[in-house]
């Protein structure tokens, strides 16, 4: 099953910022004191609209999605629309009942991991976070839910990368998804200067490629970094030449994936926190299908984003870093 391959067209929902933890690296500054959440009806309608636009994967994050009151119903809506489902969780609330409820509804659980136990607990600001998460994985295995680990890569955790691969195999994970720390949200304050520099990104990327080869029989390993030369020369979906007059004939998923719905209802392309200049609008005021229709053909919509991306592509083609965090670059587009 492919959840992040080229055929995966992803709708990424952030239904709430409520969370049982207050992680130092949280890009959405979620935590226990956050109470708001998006109404289920809004997200259900957005999910149906997204399916019509060709999205075939719903990914739920947060906040902690297991604390979202409408989680099960929302997953049922996704399943009813033949979408695959992914839930990104810190894993601490995956007791037997939760695991049982998710069994038929989730295609892949993505459990966060920040490094060896001491570092994980420090980042999670919880002395038992690692212990509890590891214990709860037993419930996930017992329920037969496929799961992966999402490893946040920073200057502090890069030395734990090989350990993380071994831990993933030991726990029975199918995937190790390596995601470089982005200094946004709470991380911009609490973990300033802990994200990887260009040289470290290059090392991490190379090391991950070799690890992927070493573990290919046991584990799929992916890193959210890409060779700058690939960006400079390739034609990702966003850059596929398309006659603007015919854009309306194509589903939104063909040129924007992932599509993000943030916890306030704002819809943005590609990355949580994307510059609002490129937002499609909000599902709090408009249906996703209407937002997509207007954004596709508006000069301030897809055309503007595509033009800015093309400029970025040119800049990256002449910039020295061999490896880049493409989505982070996109999120900073002005």
């Amino acid at each position: 099953m492919i959840l992040n391959g080229s055929d995966a067209r992803i709708l990424h929902l952030h239904p709430t910022r409520q969370c049982n933890l207050r992680c130092l690296h949280c890009y959405s500054s979620s935590g226990p004191s956050e109470r708001g959440e998006l109404p289920l009806a809004l997200l259900a309608t957005a999910t149906v609209d997204a399916a019509t636009e060709g999205y075939n994967v719903v990914s739920l994050s947060g906040g902690e999605p297991l604390m979202y009151s409408g989680l099960l119903e929302l997953l049922d809506v996704a399943k009813a629309n033949e979408m695959r489902t992914l839930v990104v969780t810190n894993g601490m609330l995956l007791d037997q009942r939760r695991a049982s409820e998710l069994r038929e509804r989730v295609d892949l659980l993505a459990v966060s991991l920040d490094g060896r136990p001491e570092l994980h607990n420090n980042i999670r600001q919880s002395p038992r976070a690692f212990e509890v998460m590891t214990a709860q994985l037993e419930n996930v295995r017992a329920a037969g839910i496929p799961f992966g680990l999402v490893f946040t890569l920073s200057r502090d955790s890069i030395d734990d990368l090989i350990w993380a691969a071994d831990f993933a195999v030991e726990q029975g994970a199918q995937v190790l998804h390596v995601h470089p720390l982005a200094e946004v949200g709470r991380a911009a304050i609490k973990l300033a200067d802990r994200s990887l520099g260009p040289g470290e990104m290059t090392v991490a990327w190379l090391a991950t490629l070799h690890l992927a080869e070493a573990y290919k029989e046991k584990l799929t390993i992916h890193i959210d970094l890409v060779e700058a030369s690939t960006i400079a020369t390739a034609t990702p979906g966003l850059f596929v030449p398309r006659d603007p007059e015919h854009l309306a004939e194509f589903p939104l998923s063909m040129f924007v994936s992932p599509l993000i719905v943030e916890e306030d209802g704002t819809v943005v392309p590609f990355e949580y926190g994307m510059n609002r200049l490129h937002a499609l609008g909000s599902i709090a005021t408009d249906r996703l299908s209407d937002l997509a229709r207007r954004w596709r053909t508006s000069p301030q919509g897809y055309a503007a984003l595509r033009a800015r991306c093309a400029q970025l592509q040119q800049v990256l083609a002449h910039r020295s870093p061999a490896v880049i965090d493409w989505y982070r670059e996109l999120a900073q587009l002005r």
């Binding site: 890069i158 990368l161 040289g199 290059t202 090392v203 190379l206 020295s320 061999a322």
Partner: protein, 100 residues
């Protein structure tokens, strides 16, 4: 090629600071610009290092940059044809040996 990819990953991570961020960028950028990829890297505690790039054709694109890199690193470059009886690719070893 008899290499252990897990051991290479370990070498890369453990020695990232010794080799230097800028050097990493330069090395990988130049190999990629030449149409190749870095397949092995080893670093000795005394400062010697050895990186191996694999190129599908010779000469690689932008070979001047590869030669310039070897010069800047005060290293040496060794080229191995790969494939018997017909050469189908090339290995390029860039290395610096302080004892030499």
């Amino acid at each position: 090629m008899d290499v252990n990819p897990k051991e290479i990953a370990k070498q890369l991570i453990e020695n990232r600071a010794k080799f230097g961020a800028r050097s990493w960028e330069e090395l990988v950028t130049v190999i990629q610009a030449g149409g190749g990829k870095l397949v092995q890297f080893a670093y000795d505690p005394d400062g010697d290092w050895c990186g191996t790039g694999h190129f599908p054709h010779w000469p690689p694109k932008r070979i001047d940059e590869l030669l310039g890199l070897a010069s800047r690193f005060q290293g040496e470059m060794v080229i191995f044809p790969w494939g018997i009886p017909v050469i189908d690719s090339y290995q390029v070893v860039l290395k610096r040996n302080f004892i030499r």
